[in-house]
């Protein structure tokens, strides 16, 4: 069985695209589309990696990341941040908060796969 990845993203079409790409590469993919209880979902599903969107309904990706980093069980969990706001200050903020990787939408499918493989070696 492949590694487990959780996609937290509110656009259904983007979830579908990422799921397709990752499943084809042998990942087990779960998704969640809401910011409110994202942290609880991460704790419950215990994935090997999280793909996290910044603009989420209820709670921003930055807040969720801050929470994850503050908890011992998820402090080292690899997190790939995705954002549609391509400003450099967003990248700086993500890195300061402890994101493992930061990618701007739209992304190339190959880049995502490559980043994931680097973050979670098979």
């Amino acid at each position: 069985m492949g590694k487990h990845v959780l996609v937290i993203e509110d656009e259904p079409n983007i979830i579908e695209a990422i799921s397709f790409i990752l499943s084809r590469d042998g990942w087990r993919v779960d998704s969640h589309s809401n910011g409110h209880d994202a942290v609880e979902v991460v704790l419950a599903k215990a994935p090997d990696l999280v793909i996290l969107d910044v603009m989420l309904p209820g709670r921003s990706g930055y807040e969720i990341l801050t929470d994850l980093r503050a908890r011992p069980e998820t402090a080292r969990l690899p997190v790939l941040m995705l954002t549609a706001r391509g400003q450099s200050k967003d990248r700086e903020l993500a890195e300061r908060l402890g994101a493992s990787r930061f990618m701007t939408k739209p992304f190339s499918n190959a880049d995502v796969l490559e980043a994931l493989r680097e973050l979670v070696p098979a």
Binding site: F20, K105, P106
Partner: protein, 895 residues
């Protein structure tokens, strides 16, 4: 001669129909804003003449026949009050207008800390004091019918005079309900009623003077000879008792101010303070003219009528005896006018008091605080007022039936006067003395009331009716100092003077002493300062410190009471004054005071205070507020006005600078946020497009089903991208004002039809409610742009209204030359905290993505601005509600 009685009934009905027409025409004119002549000082002066009731018209002659010139005191008292308008009435009217007082009970209650207890007490005294007076009017109308029937040999003697009294009472109740409860707000005034009263005032004066002229020149042989006849009669010499002369003048002056019906026309119905100026001389002149011929009529009546005739009917019987049927008819109409106008106004005044101070508090208590938010208070108030009118007249009729009619008219009148005169210390003390307290008012009123009942009301029924004769003669349980007509053993006083003297003395004494001994509540002190210094003070009591009230709750309540149109206008006006857009002003103390005053025009001060209090939580008047008001006058004296203007100017400039700076910062922040938003909105669909196109490009074992699905997604997202760009361009064109409007003429219903069709609403889940009749309005505007706005609003309802059975109401109304189109759904509405930002770019109403970019309402706002209209969120409705306002240049319905 044969049909006198039938003719009389016919004339009477015709006259009543005429009065209906007058009242109706006046209402219509006022409604159309053409009521300039309705607001003339002459109409005001004539309306005051309801002071002259049937008691004057018939009773004055009888009074003169019995007691000589003493009857004049009843008219000299009011004359003194009117001549002295500058220090008394002027203040009363000013207070009545600034505080939006609805009745004498409301004024007293409002002055003493908006006390419900006082209001109830005053209302009860007023009802007790006025009921016999209404009975008296019914009696006089039936008596005059009987007099004419007697003189008509062909008519059968009147079997059942009660039938007449009943018809009169029912007719008056109908008239009063019809014209007296049309507007809820007492301060909107009853134009129809006032106009009808003014007409009746002319009729009764004309009738009495006609009889007088006939008596002096037709029978008496000219003025000189008539004067000689007077000297030769039984009232030939000046025989007036000094105590009664002074006492009754005082009593009538007091009653003139405190009678509920007089307070109604003097203060409540007053349109303009300046009218007092004219009335100050014109009303004394009216009183002079109406009393001018009383003595001649009495003297001639005593001479020519058979001994034992009732002098109360001379005005009618003297012309009848002389065969002057037309004059008698006119005289009858005069008496009829006097009686009816008094009953109508008294019923309105009492009904206002009963419904505002008894029914409403009880209803509020029974239904609890939630009633303010849920029930339709407006209907309750109007129903209460109508029932009260019917109740007051029923009481009058029952009293008439029980008393059987009989006692001389003047006696009932004086008892009634003395009853309401008990309000005088609390009333005058309240507007002249800041130290007067609620406890003082209660003490004075109750003492005076008890003494009045004991010394005047109960004995007036006669010995052994209510009070046993022995008690009257020896006092209760043999206590001689408690004899009703000789308190403290002081016998020999005239009973009326005795009762007035003691009741007023103890009333005033109790009022002053209790006021000196008690300490007023903060609210009382504030109201006291407001009333006593009404000419110096700004007219706003700072009752509400700190606003925790939700404006939305307040508007919901206000709509229930004032009606939606008036409430929305009030809130919008206040929001504008505070520099806010929309309908929700901040609940500042100033605004709450204003709202309370507006509400008190409908339900009385005490109830309005309680209602606002229920929403505000506990009424909190802090020491600071109190000091602020108390020091206001002193401070104003200290600062020279120049300094004040200067500092105001500085403060204003500083405020403007601060506002400009804030605006600049905001614009910069907004620009950043806008760019970032656009980036996000563009990149999101591009992400899907890129990801799926790469998947398709890489191919590799995709099923044909998956292939076409992914191609579909790419297609949809591309369209979304295009739409977003279209919207952005549209908005940018609109904002820069480069848009070309395509102004055409069309009908609103067609525009709405178009919008409904474009959104597919009506076929889907969403149920539409429309009133096509209202929509037949011709518009001259850019119809396509307007349709775009409507489409947006309907689409929003489709997206966000998540009721089980979603409904959308489109309501159209014209108001003040503007067309209002409301879109109201039954969903959860928009939360208070985001209402202010729904029209901003990229703001979404809810968390769920609904496909839009959040530009729709922003575009709507820009379009409406281009069309000289507005769009606003309308709070306090059943769900989300948007109001589109358009100018209505040509107001014509499509044929």
């Amino acid at each position: 001669m044969t049909a006198t009685l039938n003719l009389l009934v016919a004339v009477c009905l015709g006259y009543v129909a005429f009065l209906f027409l007058v009242a109706f025409a006046a209402e219509r004119a006022a409604l159309r804003g053409q009521g300039g002549w309705l607001r003339s000082p002459l109409v005001y002066t004539l309306s005051l003449s309801i002071y002259c009731t049937a008691w004057t018209f018939y009773g004055a002659v009888g009074y003169a026949a019995r007691s000589g010139l003493e009857f004049l005191t009843i008219y000299l008292g009011p004359t003194l009050v009117m001549i002295g308008w500058w220090w008394g009435l002027r203040k009363l009217v000013r207070i009545g207008r600034t505080q939006r007082v609805t009745s004498v009970a409301d004024l007293i209650s409002s002055r003493y800390g908006k006390s419900t207890l006082l209001a109830v007490f005053v209302t009860l005294i007023a009802v007790i004091g006025t009921t016999p007076y209404i009975a008296l009017q019914l009696q006089s109308v039936t008596a005059s019918f009987a007099s004419i029937a007697q003189a008509d040999p062909n008519a059968a003697p009147l079997e059942d005079t009660r039938q007449i009294a009943l018809s009169v009472a029912v007719g008056l109740a109908l008239f009063t309900i019809l014209f007296g409860t049309r507007n809820l707000d007492a301060n909107e005034r009853h134009h129809g009623v006032v106009m009808a009263i003014a007409v009746e005032a002319v009729v009764k004066l004309f009738a009495l003077m006609a009889v007088g002229v006939f008596v002096v020149w037709g029978i008496g042989g000219g003025p000189a000879q008539t004067l000689a006849r007077i000297d030769a009669s039984q009232m030939g010499q000046w025989q007036v008792d000094g105590m009664r002369w002074g006492g009754l003048t005082f009593l009538s002056a007091a009653a003139f101010l405190t009678l509920p019906r007089m307070f109604q026309v003097l203060v409540v119905e007053n349109e303009d303070e300046q009218h007092l100026r004219t009335a100050s001389w014109a009303f004394p002149l009216y009183l002079l003219l109406i009393s001018l011929f009383v003595v001649p009529i009495a003297v001639v009546g005593l001479e020519i009528m058979p001994a034992g005739s009732n002098p109360d009917q001379f005005v009618l019987t003297v012309p009848l005896a002389q065969g002057q049927d037309t004059l008698a008819m006119l005289s009858f109409l005069g008496g009829f006018s006097s009686a009816t106008s008094m009953v109508i106004v008294a019923a309105i005044a009492l009904a206002t008091m009963v419904s505002n101070h008894i029914v409403m508090p009880i209803w509020l208590n029974l239904t609890g605080g939630g009633a303010v938010m849920s029930g339709d208070v407006r209907n309750v108030v109007i129903t209460a007022r109508r029932l009260s009118i019917a109740g007051v007249l029923a009481l009058g009729y029952v009293y008439y039936q029980m008393s059987g009619g009989g006692a001389a008219l003047a006696a009932i009148g004086l008892v009634s006067f003395a009853g309401v005169a008990q309000f005088l210390p609390a009333l005058l003390g309240g507007i002249l003395w800041r130290g007067a307290t609620r406890a003082g008012a209660l003490a004075g009123l109750s003492t005076g009331f008890v003494l009045w009942v004991w010394c005047m009301l109960l004995p007036s029924f006669g010995a052994d009716v209510v009070i046993p004769g022995t008690v009257l003669a020896e006092g209760p349980w043999g206590m001689g100092w408690l004899r009703p007509q000789a308190l403290f053993g002081i016998a020999g006083l005239d009973p009326t003077v005795h009762a007035v003297l003691w009741s007023m003395l103890f009333n005033t004494g109790g009022f002053v002493i209790a006021s000196l001994l008690t300490f007023p509540s903060p609210l009382e002190r504030l109201q006291g300062a407001q009333f006593v210094n009404v000419f110096q003070h700004s007219a706003r009591p700072q009752n509400w410190a700190g606003g925790t009230a939700q404006s939305e709750d307040l508007i919901v309540m206000a709509q229930r009471i004032l009606g939606p149109a008036q409430a929305q206008a009030l809130f919008q006006d206040e929001a504008q004054r505070q520099g806010l857009a929309g309908y929700l002003p901040e609940p500042t103390p100033d605004f709450l005071a204003r709202l309370e005053r507006e509400l008190s025009g409908s339900v009385g001060a005490a109830t309005a205070h309680a209602m606002v209090g229920q929403i505000m939580g506990a009424a909190t008047v802090s020491v600071e507020d109190l000091l602020a008001v108390a020091d206001e006058t002193a401070q104003m004296m200290e600062y020279s006005s120049q300094l004040e203007t200067k500092s105001e100017e500085l403060a204003r400039t500083a405020r403007q600078l601060r506002a400009a700076n804030e605006k600049l910062t905001q614009i910069s922040v907004q620009k950043d946020a806008f760019l970032s938003q656009i980036s996000h909105e563009l990149r999101t669909p591009m992400t899907s497009i890129r990801a799926f196109s790469e998947i398709l490009r890489d191919g590799g074992g995709l099923g044909s089903q998956a292939q076409s699905k992914y191609a579909g997604i790419i297609h949809d997202e591309a369209i979304r991208l295009t739409r977003l760009l279209d919207d952005l361009l549209d908005l940018s064109v609109l904002e820069n004002g480069q848009v070309n409007l395509n102004i055409r003429t069309g009908i609103l219903s067609a525009v709405i039809d178009h919008a409904v069709a474009a959104t597919g609403a009506g076929h889907g889940l969403l149920k539409l409610h429309r009133r096509r009749a209202d929509e037949e309005v011709t518009l001259e505007t850019d119809l396509d742009r307007l349709a775009q706005v409507f489409i947006n609003l309907i689409a929003n309802a489709q997206k966000y209204c998540d009721a089980a059975e979603p409904e959308l109401t489109i309501a159209v109304q014209a108001r003040d030359g503007r067309l209002l189109v409301d879109f109201i759904d039954n969903g959860p509405g928009i939360p208070r905290q985001v209402q202010s930002v729904v029209f901003e770019k990229f703001s979404r109403v809810s968390d769920q993505k609904a496909g839009g970019a959040g530009l729709g309402l922003a575009i709507c706002r820009e379009i409406m601005a281009r069309l000289d209209g507005t769009i606003a969120y309308l709070p306090g409705q059943s769900g989300a509600a948007f109001r589109v306002t358009l100018p209505l240049s040509q107001r014509m319905a499509a044929q």
